[in-house]
Symmetry: C2
Subunit: 295 residues, 2 copies
């Protein structure tokens, strides 16, 4: 950053020929709840959601701006904690908060815009028939934490509650494989099943899920406690911010060992064999609807 907060705008260096710009807005009672999360975690979680969109375009985040509409009830220290949470995430991933605006309002609303540099964008629309779909890290804990909190089963040490409050975020999973090897990319925001539907739609393919339930072992005990199937947590949990990656069949051997294979793209969505479905499970109808189901 060359010139920061205090003038009419921030002046920053812009070495890339192409940039990615993403915006997220979150509001109290809809996207966060101060009974369940600290101000610091609220700020961090929104920043993670925003940076995940930058990485999901194949870009590296550089700059963030933050706009906060705060109700009179918020003390300055509360807003500073939100800002510190955002700052902690930005700096952990090499980005700077370069500008902001804070105004009074009836409720607490936080908008973040991130700008990143990109060489070759990674799009949702890049999947071709035959590509394999992978998940960089197993999903399920965010929804699990939310269900624990909403059912009053709170345990401060629960890793699921911690994950819900501040998702673990590992964009380095992508750089390890290399953006140049990625056919299509998206982060898990609304839940795997909803987000896979968007990839299928954008790529005009059908995604045939084939999930080895042995890979969902990490959810077993926990799902039991919630009286849910591990697969349901896995497919429905949103605000995860791990990545869905489509890979050409001939690059399968280079995929990092810890990624989870979840299926393959087959003809559909506009092709002659279009079944009308965007996602199937081993060739059959899904056991769940694709409806978004997150807090």
């Amino acid at each position: 950053m060359e010139i920061g907060i205090g003038d009419d705008g921030a002046v920053v260096a812009s070495p890339y020929q192409r940039e990615v710009i993403t915006t997220d807005i979150a509001t109290e009672g809809v996207h966060f709840n101060r009974q369940w999360s600290s101000a610091y975690d609220i700020g961090a979680k929104i920043a993670i959601a925003n940076l995940a969109d930058v990485y999901a375009m194949g870009a590296t985040p550089h700059y963030l701006t933050v706009a906060i509409a705060s109700s009179g009830a918020e003390e300055v220290s509360y807003l500073l904690d939100i800002a510190r949470g955002i700052e902690s995430v930005a700096s952990a991933y090499g980005a700077s908060v370069v500008g902001g605006d804070v105004v009074a309002a009836d409720s607490l609303t936080i908008a973040i815009t991130a700008i990143g540099g990109v060489i070759t964008p990674a799009l949702r629309s890049g999947v071709k028939v035959g590509d394999y779909l992978y998940l960089t890290r197993g999903t399920g804990r965010s929804l699990g934490g939310l269900l624990l909190l909403s059912r009053g089963l709170v345990d401060a040490d629960s890793p699921e509650v911690k994950f819900f409050q501040r998702p673990e975020f590992h964009p380095e999973d992508l750089t390890e494989f290399g953006y140049e090897n990625i056919a299509a990319l998206m982060d898990v925001s609304d839940g795997l099943i909803a987000d896979l539907g968007k990839i299928a739609e954008a790529s005009k393919v059908c995604i045939d899920l084939d999930i080895d339930e042995g890979q969902l072992e990490y959810l077993r005990d926990f799902a039991k406690k919630l009286e849910l199937l591990p697969l349901e947590l896995f497919l429905r949990s949103g605000e995860e911010h791990s990545f869905i990656v489509a890979v050409r069949a001939d690059l399968q051997s280079q995929v990092p060992k810890k990624w989870i294979k979840i299926g393959q793209a087959v003809a559909g969505r506009g092709s002659q064999e279009d079944s009308g479905e965007k996602i199937r499970m081993r060739g059959s109808k899904l056991p769940f609807t694709q409806e978004v189901w997150h807090w």
Copy 2:
């Protein structure tokens, strides 16, 4: 724009080596009021405020992102009208809306981030003792329109009400003179007196106002109707988005004829002769406080 709304982010060309980033957030009941302005004008006015900050840094706007938190009461058509108002301003000044996010909330809040290209930034801190201060266009009508509305003296054809609803915006006033001739720059957001205070503070000078009241003739009849002095409207009206320009004394002859000379920078604010004041009027104390006074 290369890739637009619909993926995780927008991908845009970034030909400038330096960029300006600015963010504004506005919320119903504090920054706008749907009884007094149409959705289209609300969107346009927030976009103008945001683009004015870009120009006020010596930059040219390229891209905007828009984030809206809307209460359940807003119909889709109302939000589309806000978006159309924003879009109308963006396209009038050569910028594109490249991304957005819309979420549900308890009240209506709109955040806009603008990104512009800049070669040499124009800062608030560039004023030197001896520089002259100019205003690109006369201020006063925005506050005038607000006072008409709030006192129930509404006249739909009143140019002041129209200006309050959607400020006239003329960044070409700056390009006519040339950014390279500008010592310091700021747009009038909070009112001339408040904004001059910020320039004085940033530049560590005192600004000695010397306003030829003959130049305020355009406010005379109107001020009378509101039982105010023209000077008070001139100095206090915010959301004007004309520009305060500081010019070195030897460039005075090049200043466009229609600009209004408002004063000169004198020693102060940290210098030996510091009077403790940021703004004086012909060497004396101001007749008004510098307190911000806008709706």
